[in-house]
Symmetry: C2
Subunit: 345 residues, 2 copies
């Protein structure tokens, strides 16, 4: 393997995915989570790093740790699954993380979707601090179509308003494809993901125009000004803003969770994880008429390449995934040192 130009500037190390998961599990366990929660969060976070989704990879670990230390989240919560109706599952995450809540309800959700044709999972009283695509991709891998939304914490100014109210409120979608990786996207309804603003601030970089405003509500390209009293804008003007509002309604009002502006963590210094809700909708496409769905989705992708599209949503992640599985996950040496310290190693 040749040394990349970047490696000259920042010393890097490669870790197998398994080793990274184990390292992250150790960190979570050491900071007060149950074994189930540690496993769930470690796999999720390592998968993001493996796929090159750095803003939701190990970059998030210090935030998880400070949140657990603050007592804001219950790292040992046991999710309570409620079978409400033939196609409706609810979970009370018990002030714990959303990923173990999804894991606890997943089998019932899939069973209902296959039987009824569609099913919904409403998670409330939950903390989601990760990328959303890892929640939907596995459904597509077993032939189902999945859609998920999660609200977060006030940092986005609704289109036409003066002050922030919405969270970054992502929408993630996954669909199977006959010959190839599932079609997956995960998009923040903000103009930029909060994690990417944090990364730009850390690197001292400026942002493209239209991403956010400063503390006076004026447009700015300074990530620090956005993070310190400023706010993000929705993507795509009034349309992205409408979708962000929809996410608040589905992920909070419908689940019984908090809106992005409702929780108060001021008594928990160090808390970083939004205490809201999450909605998933899973559809069994074999109930539709016509040809096999996965063959049809493959035809769409073929046609998209036919009109000149070079890169599809998820392509970069899949290429990085292959590389990581072949060569190990690449981490900065300084980053890895910090992780090992957090793990007490």
């Amino acid at each position: 393997m040749s040394v990349s130009p970047l490696a000259v500037e920042t010393p890097q190390e490669h870790l197998s995915l398994e080793a990274l998961v184990t390292l992250l599990e150790t960190i979570f366990l050491r900071h007060g989570t149950s074994a189930e929660v540690a496993r769930s969060l470690a796999q999720n976070c390592a998968a993001a790093e493996r796929d090159g989704a750095h803003s939701h990879g190990v970059f998030r670990i210090p935030g998880y740790v400070s949140t657990l230390k603050s007592g804001w989240v219950n790292g040992k919560a046991v999710p309570v699954v409620e079978d409400v109706a033939p196609a409706f599952v609810r979970v009370d995450a018990g002030n714990g993380f959303a990923q173990p809540a999804l894991a606890a309800a997943r089998a019932l959700l899939v069973e209902k979707a296959r039987h009824a044709g569609i099913a919904i999972l409403a998670i409330r009283n939950s903390h989601h601090f990760a990328a959303l695509w890892p929640d939907v991709e596995p459904f597509a891998e077993e032939g189902l179509v999945a859609l998920s939304v999660v609200n977060s914490m006030t940092c986005v100014v609704p289109h036409g308003a003066d002050r922030p109210l919405f969270g970054t409120n992502p929408i993630a979608f996954a669909a199977p494809q006959a010959a190839g990786d599932p079609i997956v996207f995960d998009l923040a309804t903000s103009a930029i993901a909060h994690g990417d603003v944090q990364i730009a601030a850390r690197k001292g970089e400026r942002l493209p125009p239209g991403m956010g405003v400063d503390g006076l509500g004026q447009p700015t390209d300074d990530p620090k000004a956005i993070l310190e009293g400023g706010a993000l804008l929705p993507f795509g003007g009034h349309k992205g803003s409408a979708l962000s509002m929809m996410v608040e309604l589905l992920a909070a009002a419908l689940t019984g969770g908090n809106f992005s502006f409702e929780f108060d963590w001021s008594n928990h210094p160090g808390a970083k994880t939004p205490w809201t809700g999450q909605l998933l909708i899973v559809i069994d496409p074999s109930k539709g008429a016509g040809q096999n769905f996965a063959e049809r989705s493959q035809e769409l992708i073929r046609q998209m390449h036919g009109v000149g599209l070079k890169r599809l949503p998820g392509d970069r992640r899949h290429r990085q995934r292959e590389k990581s599985l072949r060569e190990g996950v690449t981490l900065d040496v300084a980053e890895l040192k910090q992780l090992r310290e957090l793990a007490g190693l």
Copy 2:
């Protein structure tokens, strides 16, 4: 009533909603639809005009008429409803319009949503030439949450591609609100609705930047250049493009309908209506935990006003609706004359 400044330039006439529906029904019947189809399309089109949604109001009537004359659509199609699973309904629209197909399946869809907590309606072999919000708003009026997507005809260049492939592929959403009109939005995933480009072209107006490209793929603000060999762009860059792709997958691949690029109307000069599919998802929010959904959605709206939002999605439509119901629907005299001619009056 005072004469508005506009009325001085363009002579206008007011028609009661009932009179407009009857006039439009007469037009549809005269051009070969069944009574059911005429009623369904007339109500839909008059509702758009009543709400000031001109690009989907009577402006569409000549397109409906030329399509019916061309033999492209079956104006007398009888939709076939299939009860596929506890929460899954399919309709073969029989090469007819989507609105009567929805009407035929609506009661079963609502029954399933109330019983199972969520239900899906997959309409295929259908033509949708109207606004999408009239399809979802009635669900919210009876306390349900509804989401619908419909694909259309190739006129949008996927982000990162050279040539058009997707339709304008709108997403519509409706949710009940305790004290007030339902929360409703209907957004094209293109940067601008096709009907608005047509209206700008007819008026000789330019478009804002970023809406479309000309026949050579170059950015243009000329609506005629977009309509004559050019194409639209998605809203919000790669994010809007991903949502447009999702609409193709849900409204066509999942229903068994055509993708926006699959139908060939070249043997039907005058045909304007895309022959695709439509998906609706209806959720019963009473199955969620916590407070009454409609009270929670009202709280969200209250908070949106609290951060300085003056106008919510749908506000302008509702104000125009009240005015139309009070004073009658306003139509240009020339427009009304054309409608009466089409009705043979």
